[in-house]
């Protein structure tokens, strides 16, 4: 029993082990990539097969339920896409390619553990497994001066601070409730949150590490510099998978704090509004695409938070749906960035010029992804926003939705700027980009996924709702 429900993790651990042994030898990047892809694909299949299983393990600190399994599928599938997307690893030092794949797999493994952790210390441990691997990977960039060093140091420093704050919050919680198990906390905390200001502070402090992962205000400062400094491949990882994990944990923590509207809700609402507004307005003036995406991710964190803080089935399911959509659309844009920067350099608006002539597929992928992020139907991004707004209005958060809507209108401008650069600005000097077969498949996949899930959202939403039910 234990083995079968733990199979997804075992599969990913095997992947890590195989990659570890490969680091000892001397393999070509193509071989390593093919191996990691096959192993990741196996993990995806195993994880998918494990959906619907349930159980508690390791003295009840590790819970397998619909929620955790859904997120595990998303995480390993995201990992597979990132392995596929960064073929060739043009931005990473040659001798570190195998290690690079290994560390990404370790980080994803940490996130998988995180999905199932239902005890505070286990959560912290899983979080650190995932973070440490990323601390190592971020400075792996080559050929772009020393910009990656800054990124690495910022990521570590902010990570350390936020983990410290989280631990500090955990100590309060333990002091107040005398337990670290989420199940028991969920019984005691709502009453404490309603009466003791300290409990509110404690819950918010525990969330800090996840604000950091999700790039939420006020832990967002690292985002632009790390996005800019890390290699394009690495950024596509940092920008997506840790955020998926963070959303899950925030859902679990909101469940602990209680579903009624409380002081915690208002703290989260304030953070959400500040995050959206700050992210969107800062994104308006960026010229480096990765910096722009960094600010846009801060804004998206605000929208997701709007779903999470409702503490109701629809809103929380919407948050899950939204983050899955966010992962696809963001990877879509990073796929484009990776492919128009053959030497791993950063991409600016100037590099997008004439893209529709240089590579129609890349331009279309960019168009679909950015319109998705702006929330234009019939994309997954529209349904995500629509669900979040519906969930929030359902719980009476009218003012929050109005602010979010105005933010969406502001955001449309900079998303449109990307589409405009790709389609309007002519540039006859640059060469046509010839995509390898794999990259073509990838682009088509992103376009189809974003539009098809946007038109037929039923199955994903049903899965998200089923997952949330295990929380309520």
């Amino acid at each position: 029993m234990l083995n079968t429900i733990f199979l997804p993790e075992i599969a990913l651990m095997l992947t890590v082990l195989v990659l570890f042994f490969m680091t000892l030898g001397n393999f070509r990047t193509g071989t390593v990539q093919a191996t990691s892809l096959v192993l990741a694909a196996i993990t995806v299949i195993v994880t998918f097969a494990s959906m619907g299983t349930q159980g508690l393990m390791f003295y009840d600190v590790y819970q397998i339920d619909a929620l955790s399994q859904l997120f595990k599928v998303v995480i390993v599938f995201g990992l597979f896409l990132i392995f596929f997307l960064g073929s060739g690893l043009t931005g990473i030092q040659d001798k570190l390619h195998t290690e690079y794949y290994m560390f990404l797999a370790i980080s994803a493994l940490g996130l998988m553990f995180l999905s199932s952790s239902v005890e505070l210390l286990t959560i912290l441990l899983s979080l650190e497994i995932s973070s440490f691997a990323l601390y190592v990977v971020i400075p792996f960039r080559c050929g772009q001066g020393r910009i990656h060093v800054e990124a690495g140091i910022k990521y570590i420093l902010f990570g350390a601070v936020s983990t410290g704050l989280t631990l500090y919050g955990m100590s309060y919680i333990f002091g107040l409730a005398h337990t670290t198990y989420l199940v028991e906390l969920a019984e005691k905390m709502p009453a404490l949150v309603a009466t003791q200001p300290l409990a509110v502070i404690a819950v918010v402090l525990v969330m800090t590490a996840f604000f950091y992962k999700l790039a939420m205000f006020p832990m967002h400062f690292w985002t632009p510099d790390v996005y800019q400094g890390a290699a394009n491949e690495t950024t596509s990882f940092v920008a997506t998978l840790p955020k998926v994990g963070a959303v899950l944990l925030l859902l679990r923590l909101v469940a602990v704090a209680g579903f009624d509207v409380s002081q915690v809700t208002w703290v989260l609402a304030t953070i959400a509004v500040l995050s959206m507004t700050l992210g969107n307005f800062s994104a308006l003036v960026q010229t480096d695409l990765k910096r722009l995406l960094a600010y846009s991710s801060i804004a998206h964190a605000g929208y997701v938070m709007l779903g999470i803080l409702t503490g109701a089935e629809l809103g929380m399911a919407a948050a899950i749906f939204y983050v899955v959509g966010y992962l696809l659309m963001n990877l879509g844009v990073f796929y484009v960035i990776y492919n128009i920067a053959p030497e791993g350099q950063n991409v600016t608006f100037d590099d997008l010029k004439g893209l529709s002539r240089r590579s129609p597929l890349l331009a279309l992928t960019l168009l679909v992804s950015v319109f998705g992020m702006a929330g234009i139907p019939p994309t997954i991004g529209f349904i995500g926003k629509f669900m979040i707004f519906t969930g929030a209005i359902h719980e009476g958060f009218y003012a929050l939705v109005i602010i979010a809507v105005m933010n969406a209108a502001v955001a449309a401008f900079y998303y449109l700027k990307m589409a405009r650069a790709a389609y309007c600005a002519a540039d006859d000097e640059k060469d046509v980009i010839i995509l390898p077969f794999g990259a073509k498949i990838m682009g088509t996949f992103f376009i189809l996924a974003i539009i098809l899930i946007g038109s037929l959202p039923q199955s994903l939403l049903a899965a998200a709702k089923a997952a949330v039910v295990s929380l309520l």
């Binding site: 234009i376 139907p377 019939p378 009218y398 003012a399 589409a419 405009r420």
Partner: protein
């Protein structure tokens, strides 16, 4: 739900076919090669779509206000979202207008568009689906999806094939309309939360509290007023019109601008009748300003496209004026005015496209004295200019007459002011006509080499162009001389709409006091909690 619908009795799902056919056509176009093949394919698909839509005209039941040719499928059970399509008297005419105009859009681009025909055909076909979708959706979410979905192809049409300042125009168009319609989304969600349904007829039947009506009226009206465009939200229109390629201008003028009017008739009036009555003075005022300002600005333009764009603002002012008169003549006149504007202004933009292809200039001064060289062209220009200024016997006369009749019937002063708009229309259109056809203000006639040169450039219309213009001319005189069939189509629907407004304007007392301030209170609690 079925109470509001008359399910489709044809042996094929006509409305879904209209939506799917262009999409399938667009997908096939991805695999076609060669500009000519693509042109013919685009024309073929739009023509077949137009042919399929004919039963909507012939089999339409004029005696009922229910939604006809309806189709009902489950789509998104998690939110009780159904895929419901259907048309009534208002939407059926706009559907027919759309299917009619789209083949002309391909035809008028035949030589105008020189690059990227594949993308052009794909984008135009997707645009057709989105526009038809707006008119046939009976579900607010579906409506919104098509409504917003329209922005992307239109953005691309302006951004890729547009003129010198296409960049600016495309982004302005997108941001204006996006900002307007995103509030519509909030209204849609708020109505869903209140009533538990997205189904438009049920939303119309529900009676909301006055405070709630005011909110949804405002949220919807901003989006529709921008789309119309009404003064002071009209500034995107001249930019978009001028920079768009000829097909883009035709789509914009003929169909896109109708979405605002359709939205008012479908959402604001029946769903928020009490709020509508409350806001009537404001909207009539804005309409009058649109009519006068649009006409006045058109008078001062030297760019032909800009002139027509501002004249659209004026014409659309008549539409909103008619709608918010809230009487039979007004609403019918508004509907007819929308159709007429679609035909006439669409034709005028085609005419501008034709002359632009020859002289590469849109300035009136560069396109003068055409009477000497292009007699056929000038004939059509004359017909459509007269139609635009509502000359008796042409289509616009009927609709403007109806609107004015409605206005004098209800508010004579409003009627008197809007007469001024009609006079302005005559002034700017006759000025345009006079300058383009004759213009002997400089006192000399082209001769010698100059005349030879002009003659070489200004060859007269070919059969393709004559066909397009001739086809639209039929509608000018048909509607102008015998508008009864169109007005008959509208009878039951408009009567039903007026009934809805009358019934809804009397608020149940309980609702007024009970749920009415829930929303305001909610906002109050929210703010209290925040600080």
């Amino acid at each position: 739900m079925e109470n509001y619908l008359i399910l489709n009795t044809l042996n094929y799902p006509i409305l879904s076919m209209l939506l799917i056919l262009p999409v399938v056509g667009a997908i096939v176009a991805m695999f076609l090669r060669g500009d000519t093949v693509l042109k013919v394919w685009g024309l073929l698909v739009t023509l077949v779509t137009a042919l399929i839509s004919i039963p909507l005209w012939t089999r339409f039941d004029q005696t009922t206000a229910k939604y006809q040719f309806a189709e009902l499928r489950h789509w998104f059970p998690a939110l009780d979202l159904d895929f419901v399509l259907g048309v009534d008297g208002i939407s059926v005419l706009l559907v027919l207008l759309t299917t009619l105009v789209m083949p002309l859009c391909i035809l008028c681009s035949w030589t105008y568009i020189k690059t990227r025909w594949k993308e052009f055909v794909i984008v135009t076909l997707l645009m057709e689906t989105a526009m038809l979708g707006v008119f046939v959706s009976l579900n607010t979410v579906l409506f919104y999806i098509f409504w917003e979905g329209m922005l992307v192809p239109m953005y691309l049409i302006i951004a890729i094939w547009g003129g010198a300042r296409k960049d600016y125009a495309a982004i302005k168009f997108f941001l204006y309309t996006f900002t307007g319609s995103i509030f519509l989304l909030v209204a849609i969600i708020a109505m869903y939360i209140t009533t538990g349904t997205f189904f438009i007829p049920e939303l119309m039947a529900h009676s909301y509290s006055f405070a709630f009506q005011v909110w949804i009226f405002l949220a919807c009206a901003i989006g529709f007023a921008i789309k119309m465009p009404m003064f002071p939200f009209h500034t995107w229109l001249p930019a978009a019109h001028v920079e768009a390629p000829v097909a883009g201008s035709v789509i914009l003028a003929s169909i896109l601008l109708k979405m605002g009017g359709y939205g008012f008739l479908r959402f604001c009036l029946p769903m928020a009748p009490a709020a509508t009555l409350y806001f009537v003075p404001l909207l009539i005022g804005m309409s009058l300003i649109s009519i006068i300002v649009g006409g006045y600005l058109a008078l001062g333009q030297s760019d032909i496209k800009k002139l027509i764009a501002y004249s659209s603002v004026g014409h659309m002012g008549f539409v909103t004026l008619g709608i918010f008169l809230l009487n039979d003549a007004g609403i019918k006149g508004a509907m007819l005015q929308m159709l007429n504007h679609g035909v006439t202004t669409g034709a005028l933009f085609i005419l501008i496209g034709i002359i632009y292809e020859r002289t590469h200039s849109r300035e009136i001064g560069d396109n003068s004295k055409l009477g000497m060289f292009m007699p056929i062209y000038v004939t059509f220009l004359g017909i459509f200019s007269l139609s635009s200024l509502a000359f008796p016997g042409t289509n616009s006369f009927v609709s403007e007459f109806l609107v004015l009749f409605g206005a004098f019937d209800k508010y004579p002063l409003v009627g008197a002011v809007s007469i001024l708009g009609a006079v302005l229309a005559a002034a700017y259109m006759l000025r345009l006509l006079q300058k383009m056809v004759w213009d002997d203000s400089d006192g000399h006639v082209p001769h010698g080499e100059h005349a030879e040169e002009r003659k070489r450039i200004l060859f007269d219309c070919n059969y393709r162009e004559i066909f397009q213009l001739g086809f639209l001319t039929i509608f000018v005189f048909w509607i102008g001389l015998h508008p009864t069939p169109l007005l008959d189509m509208l009878d039951s629907t408009v009567a039903h709409l007026l009934h809805q407004i009358d019934a809804g304007s009397i608020l149940p007392e309980a609702a007024q006091n009970g749920e009415s301030h829930a929303l305001l209170e909610n906002a109050g609690t929210w703010i209290k909690n925040l600080f």
